[in-house]
């Protein structure tokens, strides 16, 4: 952690100057930890109920096939089986569509269970309900499906051709959308550019892979003809809203609760057929229905991430100034466009962020999303940006190498400068002031960049392969309503509401619609409320992840909860604080302006006259002699916050790698991040988010790939094949924080939960390419598995041999 002085500037200067103890910015120990450390957490799989039954799903073994018949008789006859259900049993539930206002967008239709045909291996086809999970799985083995296999076009380029086998006949094409972003004269500018570099890049499909597999428990409320769904989800509010429509229940009779959730990373951020199925069956049977996926099911059916082919070209002048960028992105969507995010989510973000934090006058980004017989893609940490940053940062390094300029200098020359903000990049995104160049400089100086280059020269002289890779990026976080509606999604993610109350005992409860699944929101939001109200963080109970507690709200994803949830916490706390001060001014017989709060007390500044929060509450609620009736203000407040646009977060990552020329084993030597996320709420939590993000980026760069063969079969269906980084593969990670200028939201926060995963794949790809540069090859495909590296190196060696 760095110890740079904090600038007391920014929108929150008055709050910072107040007398209340400061909790924001402190490494407060987490309030959620004691229960999670003792096995006392309550995750969905831990929930039990009387008369509970268990679900197991029969999944398609075919990538694309017609279902001729399903024979469930033997399964139904197994003792302990309550029922076996197929698509027809869910016919009353409307099809799921994720609409978009994007022009010519083609929304796919998806049913709870596949009817007529299946479109990916792992698609749910039938569901068994039984006394326990063992019996339910026994019954699955007794179900017979008669398949008629259909032609398969498993890769997005072949699926995009006219005449390719259609996944959704009614759409008449597999291309779900196409879009072009253009600024300036990209064709002419590119043609006239003195220098050009280009490549065809590929980011392969990943699994978000939260360690807690997806799990749901649907509990019917027979007394009220209602339902509670407990689930491992990031989006309880979105689920409540859509399930209310699908099950035809008013929101007052359906509640979605995310209890402790074991990580999400985007994989628990969409609507799933299994969620609808357990709810419908719980209502039908009048019994609690539980489903917990196993890891193989999870790998085969949880929304997958990334997966695009990107052809890109960069034009620049003799001095390295960037002139033009062109990119063509083909997104492999999978079989369905996921609700609510739509098929456009990931690939459109790739073209949106391709110009990066650089000044590039001419840009064209073309994107299309193609349906393929694979599980749907959805949000995964970083969404689009890991792929776009990988491509742009590779191109920058290629351009630097072409001109013989140092890669750090190449970036410094082209980064949007301090006096150019707000800066609109070619895709239309507007960057606000953020420490683009400052982070690059900080990273280079902290890691001793010049020294590393010297080390590299020595290593090369000794025949060793050593590489240094830089990735500089910017991202839009904490997105408000004006931007969130832009992709035309069916929901509003741009606002957040807090409700805070002091009850009759003086205790503080603050309710939010965010849904923590590891982000520490029970602590960070408590820090904010505590500081603003004048109590201690451990005195604030945070209620979150429960759709029954709020009228609207979506959840936690897209690096939004600190900016939006934190913003709502601040504006609401301030309204409540003013009420408390007004009440206390009566009790203390002092002017409101002289009243202050702190450490659970309300006092007259500069005197020893004070009352406790409990005494204020008692006066308002219980002791009817204490206050005149008109002064008894309810100690509650509820306010919403909408950042309208978004905040710009930036970072530079530097990785150094060693590659063994014999075994081609890659080891990451050092990993350093310098980032500007505005004011930090809790530096320990921020560091933890960066570390975790970088580790996932290491996986994306070196290990993780959901690999499907040409018939659409998953080849990496267990953790033995889909390998994620362990402590042995992740290097020590050094993190430095900068605060350049605070963004214009109440707390001065910028979102940062995804950044690690955005920067790391590019930094590592550049480091490996740098190490291999004497061979004249570079990385264009991630992950760089040992096999890919072997091919790359052998090709280079063969080429040099033939040239000799």
């Amino acid at each position: 952690m760095n110890d740079l002085p904090r600038k007391p500037l920014g929108p929150d200067a008055d709050a910072l100057a107040s007398a209340r103890p400061k909790y924001v910015g402190k490494a407060v120990q987490r309030l959620e930890d004691p229960r999670l450390l003792t096995g006392a957490g309550r995750y969905t799989a831990d929930i039990r109920a009387d008369r509970m039954v268990h679900a197991a799903f029969l999944r398609s073994e075919q990538a694309h096939a017609r279902i001729k018949s399903i024979d469930c008789e033997a399964a139904r006859g197994l003792p302990g089986v309550t029922g076996v259900y197929t698509a027809a049993d869910f016919a009353g539930i409307p099809v799921i569509k994720a609409p978009s206002r994007m022009r010519d967008y083609r929304a796919t239709s998806c049913t709870v269970l596949a009817s007529e045909k299946v479109r990916y291996v792992g698609e749910p086809v039938a569901v068994v309900i039984a006394r326990d999970r063992y019996i339910a799985e026994d019954a699955l083995a007794l179900i017979e499906v008669d398949w008629e296999p259909l032609d398969v076009a498993a890769d997005p380029e072949s699926a995009a051709y006219d005449g390719a086998p259609l996944l959704h006949d009614e759409l008449g094409t597999n291309i779900l959308f196409e879009r072009v972003f253009e600024t300036g004269e990209p064709d002419d500018a590119m043609a006239q550019a003195p220098h050009r570099v280009s490549g065809r890049f590929r980011m392969h499909r990943k699994s978000p892979l939260a360690i807690e597999p997806r799990s749901y428990v649907a509990e019917p409320d027979r007394a009220n003809d209602g339902l509670t769904l407990y689930g491992s989800t990031q989006i309880p509010g979105i689920l409540r809203d859509i399930l209310s429509g699908l099950l035809d229940l008013p929101g007052s009779r359906i509640r979605v609760v995310a209890p402790d959730v074991g990580g999400g990373f985007g994989g628990k951020g969409s609507l799933y057929p299994e969620e609808i199925a357990v709810c419908a069956l719980a209502r039908r049977l009048g019994r609690t229905v539980k489903w917990v996926s196993d890891r193989s099911e999870d790998l085969a059916s949880t929304s997958q991430g990334f997966d695009e082919i990107i052809e890109a070209e960069l034009g620049f002048d003799d001095d390295g100034a960037l002139i033009a960028l062109k990119g063509r992105v083909t997104g492999d969507i999978g079989a369905y466009s996921i609700y609510p995010w739509t098929a456009a989510l990931e690939p459109v973000q790739v073209v949106s962020f391709l110009p990066g934090p650089y000044r590039i006058p001419h840009y064209r980004g073309e994107v299309k999303g193609v349906a393929t017989p694979k599980p749907p893609t959805g949000p995964y940490r970083g969404v689009g940006r890991p792929a776009s940053v990988f491509v742009t940062e590779r191109l920058i390094d290629m351009a630097a190498a072409h001109l013989g300029i140092d890669p750090a200098g190449m970036r410094r020359k082209n980064l949007v400068a301090e006096d150019e903000f707000p800066y609109r990049i070619g895709s239309g995104i507007v960057w606000d002031r953020s420490g683009f160049a400052e982070c690059l400089d900080e990273a280079c100086s902290r890691i001793g960049y010049e020294g590393l280059r010297k080390l590299q020269r020595e290593a090369r002289a000794a025949g060793r392969w050593y590489g240094i890779g830089i990735a500089t990026y910017a991202e839009l976080t904490g997105i408000g309503s004006r931007i969130s509606v832009a992709p035309g999604m069916p929901i509003n993610t741009g606002t957040e509401t807090a409700s805070i109350r002091v009850d009759s005992t003086g205790a503080v409860t603050a309710t939010f619609a965010v849904a923590s699944h590891g982000q520490s929101l029970e602590t960070t939001l408590a820090q904010i409320v505590a500081e603003e109200l004048g109590v201690r963080p451990e005195d604030v109970r945070i209620v979150q992840g429960d759709s029954g507690a709020t009228s609207h709200g979506t959840g936690t994803y897209a690096s939004r909860s600190a900016v939006l949830g934190g913003g709502a916490a601040i504006v609401t706390s301030r309204v409540l604080r003013d009420k408390i001060k007004r009440v206390a001014s009566h009790l203390l017989e002092a002017a409101v302006e002289d009243i202050e709060t702190g450490n659970g007390r309300v006092f007259v500044a500069g005197t020893d006259k004070s009352v406790t929060f409990a005494e204020v509450a008692h006066a308002v609620y219980s002791d009817m002699r204490a206050l005149p009736a008109e002064a008894r203000e309810n100690l509650e407040a509820s306010e919403s916050y909408d950042p309208v646009t978004g905040t710009t977060t930036t970072a530079t990552h530097i990785a150094t790698v060693r590659i063994d020329p014999e075994t081609l084993a890659v080891s990451i030597d050092r990993y350093l991040v310098a980032e500007d996320c505005g004011r930090m709420i809790n530096p320990l939590v921020v560091d933890g988010q960066v570390h975790g993000g970088v580790a996932q980026g290491v996986g994306a760069a070196l290990l993780e790939e959901l690999s499907y063969d040409e018939t659409g079969q998953l080849l990496t269906g267990s953790l033995a094949d889909y390998t994620v980084p362990t402590a042995a593969e992740v290097p020590p990670i050094e993190v430095f924080h900068l605060e350049t200028e605070l963004p214009g939201n109440p707390g001065g926060f910028r979102g940062m939960g995804e950044g690690g995963t955005i920067g790391a794949p590019a930094a590592i790809a550049n480091a490996i390419s740098d190490a291999l540069s004497p061979l004249g090859v570079g990385v264009t495909e991630l992950p760089v598995t040992p096999e890919r590296l072997f091919r790359l190196v052998s090709e280079a060696r063969n080429k040099t041999d033939t040239e000799k």
Binding site: L37, T38, D138, S718, A728
Partner: protein, 161 residues
């Protein structure tokens, strides 16, 4: 399937007598039969380590063990460490260093770390990383876990000296 097996074992110091199906996994037995839901299941195929318990003092994967195999054994789970009101040293170090985020992997790590501290020299961080590599954490990037274990290992040396 109707064969059932009687087992007697000690779980967290308490003697347990139960009848189980031969195919019942130890993880399901602990969680569903005994209600000890602190032992988590992340993969059910022996890779992630979330289900790690101590079986006769040695770490074992509850998802790869049948309940019927543990007749006569002594088992400790995360519930045997400290309590919410009084965390043990390992739990305190994890909290201090923010070595957990979602907490799903944490019980498995705690059981592994407890054994590491009893049996390994842990002189270098690399050694700590190797010893942790049988447990997967998707949230923390391991950095803070390594720091927590480093502190515990150093403290142990200090105490021994």
């Amino acid at each position: 399937m109707s064969t059932r097996i009687d087992i007697t074992l000690t779980v967290n110091g308490e003697e347990i007598v139960e009848t189980v199906e031969p195919r019942m996994l130890l993880s399901d037995f602990l969680r569903d039969r005994l209600g000890l839901t602190g032992t988590h299941v992340g993969c059910e195929h022996g890779v992630c380590g979330a289900c790690t318990v101590r079986l006769n003092g040695v770490t074992a994967r509850a998802c790869l063990t049948f309940a019927a195999q543990v007749d006569g054994a002594r088992i400790e789970t995360v519930e045997h460490l400290g309590t919410v009101a009084s965390l043990n040293r390992i739990q305190q170090a994890f909290r201090k260093h923010h070595a957990l985020q979602c907490g799903f992997c944490t019980p498995g790590f705690l059981m592994t770390v407890q054994e590491m501290l009893e049996t390994l020299p842990l002189e270098t961080d690399e050694e700590i990383r190797d010893a942790l590599s049988g447990n997967i954490c998707r949230c923390t990037g391991y950095e803070h876990i390594v720091r927590a274990v480093r502190e515990l290992a150093d403290e142990r040396e200090g105490a021994a000296a």
